[in-house]
Symmetry: C2
Subunit: 106 residues, 2 copies
DNA sequence: ACTTTGAGCAACCGATCAGTTGCACGTATA
DNA sequence: TATACGTGCAACTGATCGGTTGCTCAAAGT
C-alpha cells in the first residue's frame, strides 16, 4: 500500500478530521458526530491517517482518543519549501538572464 | 468534477511534473521523456493540473508550453497556516490550563 | 450474569483513477 | 500538396477509493 501524506490529505473528510483533532484529541464516535457518514467510514479514514503516522491513538478504557501528529504535517512544508527554492532559483536565473541581456546591449 | 488542489498533488507523478515545470515551462513531450509512461498519460495529468488552475498553457506554434501557476500553490500554504493557528491556539490553551493548575495548587 | 456501548475488521458496491490504445486535427517541413 | 510531428480527446481496463452493512470483541453499566 502506497499510503503517503499527500494522498491522506487529498480527501476533504480527512482534512476536516485533521482540523477537528488539531484542537483536541477525540474518539471516533465524537468525530463521526460531525459528519453525515457512519462511524465505520470515519474509522476507515482514521486508519489511513494512522497508517501514514499523521495521527496517533491513546487508549483510555474502551475509548480511543485520536490526536494529530503535528511533526508529520511538516512533511508538507518541506515539499512546499523545496518547490519555493526551485521557483526562486528560476527567478534568480531570469534575473541573471536579464542582466546579461543588459550587458550585451551595452 | 470535484477537482481540488489537494487531490491534484496527491499523485506522485503530478507532483513530479509540478517540480519539473517549476523551473521552466515545458511541452508535454519533453515532460513525458522524464517518465516511464505514455505521452497521453502525461497529457491527462496536465489536464487535471490545468483544470484546477495549478498550471497554465502557452501555445507556441504547434507546441504547448506548460508552466506552474505559483499563486495557486499558496492555497496549500493557507490551509497549513490555518492548521498552525489551531494548533497554536491549543498550545496556548494548554498553557492556560497549566497556569490555572499552578494557581489552584497555590 | 446480562445488556449496553465503543471500537475494529471483513465483505461487498458503485464511482473514480491512472494508464493504455487508437484516432482526429492542426501545424510545420519536404 | 504530401508527410511527419505535436497534441488533445474518447473508449476501454484493472486497481483503488469512499462508503455501507454486518460481524466480533472488550470494557462499562445494570
Amino acid at each position: 500500500m502506497r499510503r503517503d501524506i499527500f494522498q491522506a490529505i487529498a480527501d476533504p473528510t480527512r482534512r476536516a478530521i485533521i482540523t477537528l483533532i488539531a484542537l483536541q484529541a477525540m474518539t471516533p464516535n465524537a468525530i463521526a458526530d460531525n459528519f453525515n457518514t457512519t462511524r465505520q467510514a470515519i474509522s476507515k479514514h482514521l486508519r489511513i491517517l494512522t497508517e501514514c503516522e499523521l495521527v496517533k491513538q491513546e487508549q483510555q478504557g474502551r475509548e480511543i482518543y485520536y490526536s494529530l501528529e503535528i511533526e508529520k504535517m511538516k512533511e508538507i512544508d518541506i515539499w512546499m519549501n523545496q518547490l519555493r527554492k526551485i521557483w526562486e532559483a528560476r527567478f534568480n536565473q531570469l534575473g541573471h538572464v536579464l542582466s546579461t541581456m543588459k550587458k550585451t546591449k551595452k
